[in-house]
Amino acid sequence: MNVSSVKGSMSISSSTSTWKAGDTISDQFPAGLRVLVVDDDPTCLMILEKMLIACLYKVTKCNRAETALSKLRENKNGYDIVLSDVHMPDMDGFKLLEHIGLEMDLPVIMMSADDGKKVVMKGVTHGACDYLIKPVRIEALKNIWQHVVRKRKNEWKEFEQSGSVEEGDRQPKQSDDADYSSSANEGNWKGSKKRKDEEEETDERDDTSTLKKPRVVWSVELHQQFVAAVNQLGIDKAVPKKILELMNVPGLTRENVASHLQKYRLYLRRLSGVSQHQSNLSTIISAQDPTFGSLSSLSGLDLQTLAATGQLPAQSLARLQAAGLGRATAKSGIPITLVDQRNIFSFENPKLRFGEGQQQHMTNKQQVNLLHGIPTTMEPKQLVSLRHAAQSIGNMNMQVPPHGAQSSQNNPLLMQMGQQQQQQQQQSRGQILVDSTINHAPRLSSSMGQPILSNGIATNVSSRNGIPENIRAPGYSQTPSMLNFPMNHASELPGNSFALGSTPGVSILTSKGAFQEDVNSEIKGSGGLMPSYDVFNDLDQHKLQSWELQNVGMAFDTSQHSNSLQGNLDLTQSALGQQGFSSGQMNGHNRSAAVASKAMFSTGDVKELGSAQNVNQHLNNLLVDNTIRVKSERVCDTSPANIFPDHFGQDDLMSALLKQQESVASSENEFDFDGYSMNNIPV
C-alpha cells in the first residue's frame, strides 16, 4: 500500500530525524491517503480520480453506491476518507453517507453540482464532513486530508475528556493532540504529525496509515459488551471511561469506546425520532439487570437504541445491528427493521413456532412464551440472521431492568422482565437463557425459522402444566424484541445467546398452551418483545420456577423434559433464536429481547444449563437471555397486556397472538405437549 510505503519512509525519517525535517514528512503526509470516490457520472469520476492521484492519494473509484458500500465493508480499515456524489441512481448519496457513518465511521465528503442551500444543509445534518460544489477543483481535493486528521483529533479529545488519564500506548498521541490544536500552523502540525507517526510506527499497530490509529473492529461480541455496559451505566451516564472499565476488553482504548459511543448516540438520537413507543423499550432495556452484565453488548445495540429512543425502529435496529456488529450478520439495512420488530410483537410468526426441529423438543418443554410479545414472524433464514443479530442484540438490551420498573414501559416484556427479574432473576434468567440457548442452538442449526417458537412454546407448554422442562420461553423472549438478550450472559450461557434473538419467541408464546395463557395476555399486551415477559408474568411464580427447572432440562438436543433448565433454555433459546432470527433484522433485536428474557432467568439456572449439551449452551446463551427476560416478565405480574401493547397496537398484538396461538396450538399437538391445553389461552 502506498500508505505503508509512505509511512515506512515517514516513520523512518521521523524516527531518525525527530521532527525537524518537516519537509519530507509533512510533504508526505497527505500522500497515500486512501480515498474512495463514488460518482455515477463517468466523466466526473475519471476527472476526480486523476485529480486525486495528482494529489498523491491512493484512489479507488466506484460508480455505484452499492459497490462502494461493499468495498468498504470488505475492508473496513482500507480507506481513510470517502468522496461521494449526492445524486446517484441506485442510492441516494445521503443514505450512503448514513451507512458509512454508522458502519465505518469514516469521514465522508459530499459533492454535487447542486449548490442549493437545502442540499448543503442536508449534507451537514447527515453528518458529512464537507460539501464540495462541482466542478471540483484540484485545490479543494488537496485539502481533504484535514477531515481525516480532524476526526482523529476529535476522537483523541473525546478520549481525553472521558477522564481517563491512562493513555496507554496512546500517550504519544495525546501530545500530538495538543499539537493538533495548532494544526493551522503547518510547522506545528508537522511536528505533531511526525511525533504521531513515530508513535504510530513504533506502536505495534497494524495500522499502516500514519493518520490512523489502529482501527478497532466492533465485532458483534464487542458491541454487545459495549451496549451492555452502556445500559448498565445508563445511556446518559455512560462515559467512555466507565464503559471501558465495564467492558474490560484488553487492548480497547477509551478513545475507541468514545468514538463508538458517539456514533451510537447519534444513532439513538436518530431513532428516537422514529417511534415513540420504542422509548419504553429502551427504558426497559436500559434498565438491564446488572446481573446480566454484559448481556447486551451486541444486540444491545439495537436494543439499546430502542431503549434509548424508546423505539424499536426495526430498520434502525437492523442497521444498527449491522453497524454495531460491524456488519456482522446483519445485512445492510438489516431487514429486521421495524417491521420485524413489529412482527415480533405481533406474534406473527407462526412459523417460528415449533419449527421443524423444535417439535421434537417441544414435548414437554415448557414453552416459555416469553416472547409472545415478540412477533415470531421471523423466517427461518431470518432466524439465522437473527441469530446473529440476536446474539448481538441479546447482548444488547435484553437486560431488562430487573426491577420490574419497566412495567410502565411499553415493552411489556421488558417490564415484566424487570419485575420478574427482581423476583426471579436468578431463575428466570437461567431459564430463559437456557431456553434461548436451546432454541437457538438446535434451532438455528436446523434452520428452523420457526423452531424457536416451538422451543419456546414447548417450554411454555410444559411449564404450564407444571412441566417446567421446556421453558421455551426464551424462545419468545428472543423474539426480535429488542429485549436485550443478555447475550452477554454468555458467562452463563455459552456463546450463542443469539438464540434468544432467534427465537421468535412470539411464536413460542402462542404455541404453548401453558404459556399461552400467559402469553396471550401478555402478548396482547405487549405486542412485541415482551412475549416472553408476558408469559412469565402470567405464570405463577412458582410455575416459573418449575419452568426454570424444566426449561433447563429442555435442551433441544436432548429433547428432554428434564428439569434442567438448560434444556428448556436451550430450546427456548433456539426457538427464540430462530424466531428471532428469522425475522432477520429483528433477530438482532429480538435476540436482545430474548436475551433479556433469558436474562431473567436466574443465572443460576443458566449455569445449569450451561452444563447441558453444547447445543444447550448455545441455546442457553440465547435462551438465557431470553428466558431471563421472559422470566422477569412472568414474575412481575404485570399483566402482559400492558406491557406490550402500548406501542404495538394491541389489536395487532392480539391478532398476532391469536394467530400464534392458533398455530401454536396446532403445532403443539404435534409435539405432544403434555397435558398442555390450549384452552386457557386467554386471547
Partner: protein, 154 residues
C-alpha cells in the same frame, strides 16, 4: 505547415475558445492533469464526456417527448449533464443546463423544449471546437512537436 506554426495556431484557437466562453478554467485544470504518465488524459476525458452527454441528450429528448412529461426525471438528467459539463469545463453547455433546470422547476413544457434545443446546440458547438483543437494537438505531436501550455491572461 511546420510545427511552430501549428503550435501557434493551436494556442490561438484554444485561447479563442476560452474567450468565447466555450471553455472555462476547469478545462485548464484538466490540461494540467495531463502528464507523461497519462498523455492522453484530456482526450480520454473529453471522449467520455461526449459519449455520456449524447446519451443524456437522447434521454432528455425522449423524456420531453412523452405525452406526460416527468419533470423530475428531466431535471435529474439535466443535473447530470450540468455536472459533467462543468467538470469538463464546457461552460456554455453548463449555463444552458442551469437555465434548463429552472424551467423544469416551473414545469414549463415549451420553455424546456426550447432549453433542450439550446443545450443541444451548445453541446454540438463545443464538441466541434474540442475536436478541432484535439486534432490540432494530434498533428503537432505527430509532427514531433509538443503541445504548448496555454497561459491564460485573464
Amino acid at each position: 505547415m511546420e510545427v511552430g506554426q501549428m503550435q501557434r495556431r493551436l494556442v490561438d484557437y484554444t485561447k479563442s475558445l476560452f474567450m468565447e466562453g466555450f471553455l472555462d478554467a476547469q478545462f485548464l485544470q484538466l490540461q494540467q492533469l495531463q502528464d507523461e504518465s497519462n498523455p492522453d488524459f484530456v482526450v480520454e476525458v473529453v471522449s467520455l464526456f461526449f459519449d455520456d452527454s449524447e446519451k443524456l441528450l437522447n434521454d432528455l429528448t425522449m423524456a420531453l417527448d412523452q405525452p406526460s412529461v416527468d419533470f423530475k426525471k428531466v431535471d435529474a438528467h439535466v443535473h447530470q449533464l450540468k455536472g459533467s459539463s462543468s467538470s469538463i469545463g464546457a461552460q456554455r453547455v453548463k449555463n444552458a443546463c442551469i437555465a434548463f433546470r429552472s424551467f423544469c422547476e416551473e414545469q414549463n413544457i415549451d420553455a424546456t423544449l426550447r432549453c433542450l434545443q439550446q443545450v443541444k446546440q451548445e453541446y454540438y458547438l463545443v464538441k466541434n471546437k474540442l475536436e478541432t483543437m484535439l486534432r490540432l494537438e494530434q498533428q503537432i505531436v505527430a509532427a514531433g512537436g509538443s503541445i504548448p501550455m496555454i497561459e491564460l491572461g485573464f
